[in-house]
Each structure stands twice: as structure tokens, then as C-alpha cells.
């Protein structure tokens, strides 16, 4: 009797089926988790790109607004005439973004920029004022788009900033 009970206790561990069922359940539970984790990671990456896009747009906008009116208008029109262009393939854009203080680490920064701004595109739109204001101000729109999914062109998102530039000497 005692021996029989002891044998039965030995056989009291989880059976293979139980383990398999548990693993299946666990796997099923992990799938959405991993999926969500993957989505989250991609989302974080996307957030980073979004922030970069915002900074790129703001930087370009600030540079254009900081220039004297005529120069700003000329640069903006030159950029506008190109439509969408790759952020780092446009020499005018690069020259606008270029800064002397970065010269020392230029190559390193350029490498980082190429990596970071891969698939980034920019567009500038100029809208002239009408009537008496025609030569006094213009509406400047800076738009930056990026691929949320690096492999998919259809995943593009964009951000645009708008500001009015006024002539200084009126």
C-alpha cells in the first residue's frame, strides 16, 4: 500500500501533454506580445524619424527666415522650383543647413546624416501676397516627409511648417 502510493506520487509531475499545452498557450500569449513589442520598437523608431523631420523642417525654416528678405525669397523660390527632393542630395539645401561650426566633424556628421536622413525628402512652397503686400511678404511652407517603414514608399508621412516672411525695409 505504501509502495503503491509512493509510485503514484512519483507519477504526479506534469505530463508531456501538459507541458506542450502550456507551451502552446504561452506561445499564443507571446505572439501578440512580441508583435506589440515589434510594433512598439518600430513606433519608437518612427517617433525618432518624426522628431528628426520636425527638426529638419524647423532648421530649414529658421535658416530661410533669418536671411534678408530678398535672399530668403530667392532661396525659397529656388528650392520650391525643385519640388520634392532628397534631403541630402540637394546642394542648396545642404548649403543652407551647413554651418561653419560643424566643419571640424563634417565627415562624421555627414555620415550620420546620411544614415539618419535616408529616405527623407523636403519641399518648399512659396505663396506670394497679393495687392500692395505683394512685395512686402510671402508665405513660406517647409514640408519634410519620411518613410515610416524604410522598405515601404507607401508608408510615407510628412510634417509641414508655415510662416510669413516680411520685408525688413518697408
Amino acid at each position: 500500500m505504501t509502495g503503491t502510493m509512493a509510485r503514484r506520487r512519483k507519477r504526479g509531475g506534469m505530463s508531456m501533454i501538459e507541458i506542450l499545452v502550456g507551451l502552446v498557450i504561452f506561445s499564443l500569449a507571446m505572439i501578440p506580445l512580441l508583435s506589440f513589442g515589434f510594433t512598439t520598437t518600430r513606433g519608437t523608431h518612427s517617433v525618432g524619424k518624426h522628431m528628426m523631420a520636425g527638426q529638419l523642417a524647423a532648421s530649414l525654416m529658421d535658416r530661410l527666415l533669418a536671411k534678408p528678405y530678398d535672399e530668403s525669397l530667392a532661396n525659397a523660390k529656388a528650392l520650391a522650383s525643385k519640388g520634392w527632393s532628397d534631403a541630402l542630395s540637394d546642394s542648396l539645401l545642404v548649403s543652407i543647413l551647413d554651418h561653419a561650426s560643424l566643419a571640424a566633424k563634417k565627415s562624421e556628421i555627414e555620415r550620420d546624416l546620411r544614415k539618419s536622413f535616408r529616405f527623407f525628402q523636403t519641399r518648399v512652397i512659396v505663396k506670394n501676397a497679393s495687392g500692395n503686400d505683394a512685395d512686402r511678404m510671402f508665405l513660406l511652407t517647409v514640408e519634410v516627409s519620411w518613410r515610416v517603414d524604410d522598405g515601404s514608399e507607401s508608408s510615407r508621412q510628412s510634417i509641414d511648417l508655415k510662416a510669413v516672411k516680411y520685408r525688413e525695409d518697408q
Binding site: R8, G12, M14, E18, V21, G22, I25, F26, A29, M30, P32, L33, F36, G37, T40, G43, T44, V47, H50, M51, G54, A57, A58, M61, L65, D70, K127, A129, S130, G131, D133, R136, M137, F138, L139, I159, L161, K162, A163, V164, K165, Y166, R167, E168, D169, Q170
Partner: protein, 731 residues
């Protein structure tokens, strides 16, 4: 056994439930994290959008106020110009969003929270150099301060407010002190190192048209000159504040102007009306000068001159005093001259007067040379010589003396030859020997009318000669100030009292160096400076930038304040009537085309001379332009019509006469405004004017002397005190 089985099953369930709970919590926290990332990103984007909108909004406010600041019809025009430096609130009605901004607002779904709050704050009066004494009424008229602007919006239910400060500067549109002058030459004494001969380069205009009449000396053979004639508008004629003052310096250097004469003193070119009979000391009865016989020629025919008869002590004894201006008719070689048919000779009559001798020593033809500056226009007495005429009210500052010749004949009954000349004598108390009567029947003595009078008071001499300041006739030094006929003291800086109340604490010739000093180490608009440098509103790197900003002169020309142009400035014709005035400081050379302001200068000259003065009388100070060559290099006038313009070319290093304003056009110059230079270099200007064959026309613009100077306001485009808050900014 059944219970054991269920106990084992519960373990798996608990484990699974635990895992699922952990997963749910994990997912929830990840979801929250991702959601907050997205939210932060959205807020960041919205803040960027709001920031650029607010910058556009405040930029629009500044842009509109900058334009309204110089628009007399706007709400804010007076606020920028009110006396004192206290804070002021700009009414909300002064600003309306421009259509571009309104469209952007609609597109972005932004809502304005109230009107922008705009105030003028931190105002401080601009300082002045020590030489300028500003009246209390004008203190704070020129000032600096800032526009404090606060704009609030609501965007996606979040409030955003931006507060900025835009500095502004309010400055006079014209140069104080100098704007009171139609002609200001603070070193013209360099052109008269010696008031005679070849070193006198002020008195060099022949009075007979533009060409010397006959037998000219070799050095005058090609000479065609016209004097610099200052005319008057109706408004300016009788008002000393509206006719433009003249300064001929340096302050302590005497300047002698040969007054032009003609045989017929009623000629257009004669200046003899400027000699007032009140200035003749022995003219106790106050008689007027008249054309009357002074002596007889060889045929016994009376020679009439502008003169007076002064009774002497004895009955029928009189001194016949005549005055002569500089003209060809008094030279020895004048065939139709005053003395050509007389055994009298001007040399004898003037005697040993050192001034006369000096005049004729270098060149006898010098007696035919009058001043090249006709400060009071042409002879205004010409059409009505019998009525008293004291001329226009123009004030002439500096030690400026009118030089003319006075000849006196002693006439008594049975005088030989109709009277005996009283020549110059260095001894004022000289008693001439008795004069013989006709046929030597008897003798008479020249005896003054009153005991205190001397021979020197009557004798023939060069008045304001330039040599006898310490001699017997010092009381006959006559300064050129028709408005001050009862006073003989020259006008100095202490007499300078324009209508705006500005006074000088020092010499006129110290003003230019004090006001136009540019310190290259200091920036334009430096508040620590008291010079024009502190008043510069805008600096243009080139002429192109300047014309781009102010206009090319065909449709508009808006200077609005004091501006600085680097390099040279070469402007074509400014034909528009849409001109807003100011001072254009130029680093190097200036070349100007015409500045015609829509006036048709091709019309009939009579009609033009009817229209032009009226236009000048109506012209406002806001419209007047000043061009300043800071280097003192020549301002070249490629055009010859300049209306409402002041030209200033001064450099304290000038030590010899030099060209500072040059007329390159060959037509008749018409210049309306003012000119301020160290030296006009008259010998060159007279030749330039002579090319036209007719005298030039210079007018002052009466509004240059307005009691309240016109002020322009410049609002800087850069911002100070930039603050952005996702909430209302608390001041």
C-alpha cells in the same frame, strides 16, 4: 486522486493567468509609453506650428506699425512723436491682420485670443553734442525705445503666447542747425587768403553778363562766369526763418564781398541797394540815396551816382557823397565809364587808400570784379528805386562785410570844376588846405557840420576795405545784414536763433565736425554716441541695396530717417512725387541725377518761375532729402534740377579750397534747398554756372525751417526679449 488532479490543473491556470496578467500590464505600460510619445510628438509639432504662426503674427504687427509710424494719417503717427519719454499704449485698432496671415490662421485652425497688446516702452531721449543746445520743447523728440508686443492664440485647445520687443528709433529727418541755411560754408575764408588780387577767389564775377566786356587780361580771356544767386520765395522773402540763412566762415575770419555796381545802378546785377544811407555816419537827416549829380565831367555835364548830399557847417557848403559798386565802368579803360570824360581820376579821388591801391595793384580790372555770391538775389530795387527797400530778411552769419567805394566831393559856391574831391587820408582828423573858388577869387575851408565830426567821416575811401580795420574809418565797416540795418555787429553763433529754438554753444565751424563724426569702432545707432552715428536707422551694404529698399525714384523714394550707404552712391533722376525724406549718409562719392519731383522744367521760363516758388512754399519737411558725403569728397550733380534737397559735404581736414559740390550739367542749374560745404570753390562753380550763359537759381525751401522738426521713426526688424509660452505670458 480526483482532488490531486484538480490541484495540478490549477497550477497551470494560475501560471497562465499570471503570465497573461504580466503581459497585459506590460502591454498596457508599453501602450501608455507609446501613447505618451505620440502625444509629446503631437504637442511638439503643434508647438512648432504655433511658434511659427506667432512669429508671423508678431512680425505682421511690427511690419504694420513700422509702416504706420511714418504715415501722418495713422493712429500711431502721433504716439511715436509725442513729447517726453513715458510709456504709451498703442490702440488695438492700429492693427489688422494682413490677408496672408488671416488665410494661414484659417488654414491652421488657430484662434486669436484678444487683440495684441502693444506698448511703447523704455524710451530714452537721444543725446546731442555739446555744441548743440536743444530747447526743452524738443527734448525727447529724438529718442530710442522699443515696441513691446504680446500676441496670444489658441491652437488645438492649447493657449500659446509670444512676447517680443522690437527696438525703434525716432530721429529728425533733417540735420539740425544746417537745415536753417540755404548756404553754409564754414571755411570759405580759405578762398580769400588775402582780400585782393589773385588770392581773392570770392570776388571774381564780371557784372556785364557772362563775358568780360573788352580788353580782358590774358588770364580772363576765356572767362565766362555767373554768380551764385540766392533767390526768394514769397513765403521766405519777409520772414528771416523762412528764407534760409547764410554762413560764411570761419567764424573769426573776415570775408569781403565786392558789391556789384553798374553805371545805371538800377541794373539787375547791382548790389548797391544793400548800402543803406543809415550806415553813413554823417547822414543825420536820414536821407535816402538817390541818383543825383556828384561831380561834373569835362564838358560841365553832371555825373550822377547813387548818393546823398550832406550839408556842412557853412551855408551852401555840402559834401556830395556817391557810392560806387564794382563794375567795368569804374576801371580806367572803360570807354563809356563814369570817369571817361572827366579830368577826375578814380585813383586821385581815392587817394592813397591802401585798400584801393591793393585792389588795383595786381590787376586794374579787379575793380570790375564783383562777389560771386549774390546773397540777396538780384537787385530788388530795380523796378522801384525811389521807394525805401531794405531787402529780404535773410540773415548772414560770420564776419561778412560788403565792400564798395565811396567818393566824396566838397561842393561850395563857385567851386572849381563843380566840386573838389575829398581823398582818403590816414589821419582821420586831417584838415585839408583851403579850396580855391572859381578863378581863384577866394578860398573856403572844408568844415564838418558838427564839432564831433572828422574829415575821416566824409572822405573818399573803400568801405569795408579789408586793410584799414585799425585806420580812421573803422565805423564804416559794414556787415552784410540788411535786416539789421540799425546794427553793425556781424551775426555770430550767439545771434543764431531759429524758430525751432535750437541754439549753439560754440562756433558755427565747430558744428560739422561735432555732428558728423563717425567712429569706425562703434556701430551705427550706438546709444552711447551723441553724433549722427547714433541716429542711423538702417545701414545698406551697397547702392543696390539702398535703391532696392527706398525705391529707384521713378515710382517712390522713401528714405524715412537717417540711413547709411557703404561705398559710393550714384542715383539717376528722381522724378516721382512720392518722396519721404531723410538723411542719406554716404561713405564715399555721391552722384545725383535730377530730383524734379514731377515739375516740368521744360515749360516757359516765366511760367516756371511762377510755379516753382509756389511749389516750394507748399513743400513739407517730410518730403525733403539730404545727401551727406561723409568723406567730404565731391557730390557730383549729373542733373541740373534739384528740388527739395540739401547737400552736405564736409571734412574737418579740408585745408585748401576744394570741390565739394560739382555741377556737371551744362544747362541752367536750378537748386532748391540748401548746400553745406567747407569751401564752395567759387572759382570753379562760377565757371560751371557760366557755361549756361545765364545765372543759376538757388531757392531755400521754407519748410526746412519749420519750428517743429519732422521726425521719422524706424522700427528694427530684429527682436529682443523673445518669449514663447504655452500659456499667457505674465509681464
Amino acid at each position: 486522486m480526483h482532488r490531486e488532479f484538480w490541484r495540478r490543473r490549477g497550477t497551470v491556470t494560475v501560471i497562465l493567468l499570471g503570465l497573461i496578467s504580466v503581459i497585459v500590464v506590460f502591454v498596457f505600460s508599453l501602450s501608455r509609453r507609446l501613447s505618451s510619445h505620440t502625444q509629446l510628438l503631437t504637442i511638439g509639432d503643434h508647438t512648432q506650428i504655433a511658434r511659427y504662426y506667432l512669429e508671423s503674427y508678431t512680425g505682421d504687427v511690427i511690419s504694420q506699425l513700422a509702416r504706420q509710424a511714418n504715415d501722418p494719417g495713422s493712429d500711431v503717427y502721433g504716439l511715436f512723436r509725442q513729447a517726453g519719454t513715458g510709456d504709451a499704449t498703442i490702440p488695438s485698432g492700429a492693427y489688422h491682420p494682413n490677408p496672408l496671415l488671416a488665410d494661414l490662421k484659417k488654414e491652421l485652425g488657430i484662434e486669436h485670443v484678444g487683440a495684441p497688446k502693444i506698448e511703447l516702452r523704455g524710451q530714452k531721449a537721444l543725446p546731442y553734442p555739446g555744441i548743440v543746445q536743444m530747447p526743452d520743447s524738443l527734448k525727447g523728440l529724438e529718442k530710442r525705445g522699443f515696441l513691446s508686443i504680446s500676441c496670444s492664440i489658441r491652437f488645438n485647445k492649447r493657449p500659446y503666447t509670444m512676447a517680443v520687443r522690437a527696438p525703434f528709433l525716432a530721429v529728425m529727418r533733417m540735420t539740425p542747425v544746417l537745415r536753417e541755411f540755404v548756404l553754409f560754408c564754414d571755411r570759405i575764408h580759405l578762398e580769400q587768403q588775402r582780400p585782393f588780387g589773385n588770392q581773392d577767389r570770392i570776388n571774381l564775377t564780371f557784372t556785364k553778363g557772362s563775358e568780360h566786356p573788352q580788353e580782358v587780361p590774358a588770364n580772363y580771356s576765356a572767362y565766362k562766369g555767373q554768380p551764385w544767386v540766392l533767390w526768394f520765395t514769397d513765403k521766405g522773402f519777409s520772414n528771416k526763418d523762412k528764407c534760409g540763412r547764410v554762413f560764411l566762415g570761419a567764424d573769426d575770419k573776415p570775408i569781403y564781398l565786392n558789391l556789384a555796381g553798374e553805371k545805371n545802378f538800377q541794373g539787375y546785377m547791382s548790389d548797391l541797394w544793400q548800402v543803406f544811407p543809415e550806415w553813413i555816419k554823417v547822414n543825420k537827416t536820414g536821407d535816402r540815396f538817390q541818383l543825383q549829380p556828384i561831380f561834373l565831367d569835362n564838358a560841365g555835364k553832371p555825373i550822377s551816382l547813387r548818393g546823398i548830399d550832406v550839408p556842412l557847417k557853412f551855408r551852401n557848403h555840402m559834401a556830395k557823397i556817391g557810392i560806387l559798386g564794382f563794375c567795368h565802368e569804374i576801371t580806367d579803360d572803360a570807354e563809356d565809364g563814369i570817369f571817361s570824360n572827366s579830368f577826375r581820376n578814380l585813383r586821385d579821388i581815392m587817394g592813397p587808400d591802401p585798400a584801393f591801391q591793393a585792389l588795383i595793384n595786381d590787376n586794374p580790372q579787379a575793380l570790375a570784379l564783383a562777389s560771386s555770391l549774390k546773397l540777396f538775389g538780384k537787385n530788388g530795387e530795380q523796378n522801384n528805386p525811389d521807394n525805401p527797400y531794405y531787402g529780404p530778411a535773410r540773415e548772414v552769419f560770420g564776419s561778412v562785410f560788403g565792400r564798395f567805394l565811396m567818393i566824396t566831393f566838397f561842393e561850395y559856391p563857385s567851386a572849381q570844376g563843380g566840386g573838389q574831391p575829398l581823398p582818403y587820408n590816414a589821419n582821420a582828423n586831417f584838415q585839408p588846405p583851403p579850396f580855391a573858388t572859381f578863378n581863384n577869387v577866394s578860398e573856403v575851408l572844408f568844415t564838418p557840420a558838427e564839432p564831433g565830426q572828422k574829415y575821416g567821416d566824409y572822405m573818399s575811401r573803400v568801405v569795408s576795405g579789408g586793410l584799414d580795420t585799425g585806420g580812421p574809418a573803422v565805423d564804416t565797416y559794414l556787415c552784410v545784414n540788411p535786416a539789421s540795418k540799425k546794427s553793425r555787429h556781424p551775426f555770430g553763433f550767439r545771434d543764431f536763433a531759429p524758430a525751432d529754438g535750437v541754439r549753439l554753444n560754440g562756433r558755427f565751424d565747430a558744428f560739422g565736425p561735432a555732428w558728423f563724426a563717425i567712429d569706425p569702432k562703434k556701430r551705427a545707432g550706438d546709444p552711447a554716441l551723441s553724433t549722427v552715428q547714433a541716429r542711423i536707422l538702417r545701414t545698406f551694404p551697397s547702392q543696390a541695396a539702398f535703391t532696392k529698399a527706398v525705391g529707384d525714384g521713378t515710382t517712390k523714394f522713401h528714405v524715412d530717417g537717417v540711413v547709411y550707404v557703404k561705398g559710393s552712391l550714384n542715383l539717376k533722376d528722381i522724378t516721382t512725387t512720392d518722396i519721404r525724406g531723410g538723411v542719406v549718409l554716404v561713405e564715399k562719392d555721391i552722384t545725383l541725377g535730377n530730383i524734379s519731383r514731377g515739375i516740368n522744367f521744360d515749360q516757359d521760363p516765366v511760367a516756371l518761375m511762377g510755379e516753382l516758388p509756389k511749389k516750394l512754399d507748399d513743400m513739407k519737411q517730410e518730403e525733403l532729402l539730404t545727401f551727406v558725403s561723409l568723406s567730404g569728397s565731391p557730390i557730383r550733380l549729373a542733373g541740373d534740377k534739384h528740388v527739395g534737397v540739401q547737400l552736405i559735404s564736409m571734412n574737418e581736414k579740408v585745408g585748401v579750397p576744394c570741390d565739394q559740390v560739382v555741377w556737371e550739367a551744362v544747362k541752367r542749374p536750378i537748386f532748391c534747398g540748401g548746400i553745406a560745404v567747407n569751401t564752395p570753390n567759387l572759382s570753379q562753380r562760377v565757371r560751371e554756372f557760366g557755361r549756361a550763359g545765364i545765372e543759376p537759381i538757388f531757392f531755400y525751401v521754407p519748410s526746412m525751417a519749420d519750428p517743429k522738426p519732422s521726425v521719422a521713426v524706424g522700427v528694427k526688424s530684429y527682436l529682443e526679449g523673445y518669449r514663447l509660452a504655452a500659456d499667457e505670458v505674465k509681464e
